[in-house]
């Protein structure tokens, strides 16, 4: 009797995951503050001099979302190895794409060369993950950053190119001093109890300038990207 037949429940499978990862994420945008500070509810990380990138891994495939770049996967093919380092599938990471020079320092020039497509093999790309938005095919943006961060550390094994960024809780001014020595000009502060917000972060994510120990010989990309000079050319 066909009328009585109930439809079979749809089982999650490799071909039909419970939820598809979003094609695009509206990334959280930090709020600029004037200076570094100390606060036990905040988690402080370097503002790595690179470009913001949302990385998704679904069924072994990696997608990169970089503002203004149509085909970021092609510009950074090295990041295809991301799924090998993940303990779960259906993952969306928020982080920073860097290109390292021969000494392992982030090099804005090499990054620009990659982004513009002028030198598709310039430098050595790296990805520093800072936040986890989706895990095991489910959004977790409503969870607190403390949990998302802890989860991120649990599912992403550090590799040569991709890693979870190191950060420090509470002592923002100490991290700022350390960053000044490294020549990194920004400090990221995420509130541990905050959920991930699309768009303006409010007090969930702050960005403070770090005064470098010496004037830098050339602008870092981090500073350039902060300027309203439009999107980088794809």
């Amino acid at each position: 009797m066909p009328a009585e037949q109930l439809p079979l429940p749809e089982l999650p499978s490799i071909d039909h995951p419970r939820l598809r990862l979003p094609d695009r994420v509206n990334p959280m945008q930090p709020t600029a503050v004037d200076a570094a500070f100390d606060h036990p509810d905040y988690f402080f990380e370097p503002w790595w001099p690179g470009v913001r990138a949302v990385a998704s891994a679904e069924r072994g495939r990696v997608r990169l979302q970089v503002a203004g770049l149509a085909d970021a996967e092609a510009a950074f093919p090295e990041l295809e190895e991301l799924p090998d380092q993940l303990a779960e599938d259906g993952v969306v990471l928020d982080g920073t794409l860097l290109v390292l020079d021969a000494e392992g320092r982030p090099d804005p020039e090499l990054l620009r060369a990659r982004l513009s497509g002028r030198q598709p093999h310039a430098g050595r790309p790296a990805y520093v993950a800072a936040d986890l938005l989706w895990a095991a095919g489910e959004p977790i943006t409503r969870r607190s950053f403390r949990i998302r961060r802890d989860w991120l550390e649990a599912i992403l094994a550090p590799g040569d190119r991709i890693t979870v960024g190191h950060g420090y809780r509470g002592d923002g001014t100490l991290v700022a001093e350390a960053l000044a020595r490294l020549g990194i000009e920004g400090l990221s502060a995420r509130r541990l109890t905050a959920r991930y917000r699309a768009g303006a972060a409010g007090d969930a994510w702050l960005r403070a300038p770090v005064t470098p120990a010496q004037p830098r010989p050339r602008p870092t990309l981090a500073l350039i990207l902060r300027l309203p000079l439009g999107e980088p050319q794809a």
Binding site: A32, D38, P40, F43, P46, L98, L100, D101, A102, E103, G104, R105, P106, R124, A126, Y127, V128, E138, R143, S144, R146, I147, R149, D150, W151, P158, G159, D160, R161, I162, T163, G165, H166, G167, Y168, R169, G170, D171, T173, L174, V175, E177, A178, R181, L182, E185, L192, P209, T211, P212, P215, R216, P217, R218, P219, L223, I224, R226, L227, P228
Partner: protein, 300 residues
């Protein structure tokens, strides 16, 4: 080298001019690909269909399309020019002021005073330096009257030849339109921060022509009979090294604070509090772990 005299009013200062710059670009010669001999450029006349020796050529000025007048050496010598052999100072302007066309420079020449004109030379130099003025002058060099500016430079003075106003193109041909662009106060502040953070003293010796050096490297290895080595491949660098550098820097900053606190007992309490708050936010706190397990059960 050019020899002449600076003239203004009734003062005449005999000087020599030396080109202040030299081109360090790498020059190439054109060779015949099969035999690698230098190719010669012959002057060729298409009307007679023959190669013309240089002695049989004259100067022509195209005054209308395809029509020329011949200008001889004698004609050039007869040009009535007051500024021949003289650097005729016309006026003095504020050296720092923009928009007087003095930023369109051609080449720079050092001035060297003749022994007889030494006193006047250094008097002019000192007064220019003290008053912040540039001398605008005209000088004839290489058959041309040139506009130039004289400024004090190091122990001497520098003569920079300038473009004539009709040689300077108008910016109106460009698509520069600042209309409709709104700059927010915060954006301006960021730009000012960027500029402030990169403000320093310009030391030209800190800059170098990287392209020229790399090209010279390729040429040198070819001269030595080697195939040019492609740019040394960077050793694989690891993102972990960067994290280690960060850890080391944070440790160093912490040490520095501890030392500062030990040195100044009054600051101790504050520093101790800071050290307690510091430390990596690590591993789940019990509440967080609990929440996670709950989720696991739900999704299982």
């Amino acid at each position: 080298m050019w020899r002449g005299a600076i003239q203004f009013g009734l003062v005449t200062i005999p000087v020599k001019l030396y080109l202040a710059t030299e081109s360090t670009g790498i020059g190439f010669n054109m060779l015949h690909a099969s035999c690698l001999n230098r190719i010669q450029m012959k002057i060729y006349c298409p009307f007679h269909d023959e190669v013309v020796p240089r002695s049989e050529t004259v100067r022509g000025y195209e005054w209308s399309k395809g029509r020329y007048v011949v200008v001889t050496d004698e004609d050039l010598e007869a040009v009535p020019l007051k500024t021949i052999r003289a650097i005729e100072i016309a006026m003095f302007v504020d050296a720092q002021k923009e928009d007087h066309g003095a930023q369109f420079v051609k080449s720079a020449y050092y001035l060297e005073p003749d022994p007889v004109g030494k006193k006047a030379f250094f008097l002019l130099r000192e007064v220019l330096a003290d008053t912040g003025k540039s001398a605008i002058c005209k000088v004839v060099m290489k058959d041309r009257e040139q506009l130039a500016a004289i400024n004090p430079y190091a122990s001497t003075m520098l003569l920079t030849t300038l473009h004539w106003p009709d040689e300077i193109r108008s910016v109106e041909e460009l698509a520069v339109d600042a209309g409709g662009i709104e700059i927010k106060a915060s954006e301006r502040k960021m730009a000012e921060q960027l500029i402030a953070s990169m403000t320093g003293e310009f030391k030209a010796e800190e800059f170098q022509d990287d392209y020229r050096q790399a090209l010279m490297g390729v040429i040198e290895s070819k001269v030595a009979g080697e195939e040019p080595t492609p740019m040394a491949r960077a050793e694989p660098t690891k993102i972990g090294d960067l994290m280690a550098a960060l850890e080391a820097s944070v440790s160093a900053a912490r040490e520095a604070r501890r030392d500062a606190a030990a040195g100044a007992p009054t600051a101790k309490a504050k520093a101790a509090g800071g050290a307690k708050a510091a430390g990596r936010a690590k591993k789940a706190e019990p509440a967080a772990a609990g929440e996670r397990q709950t989720r696991r059960r739900k999704t299982a």
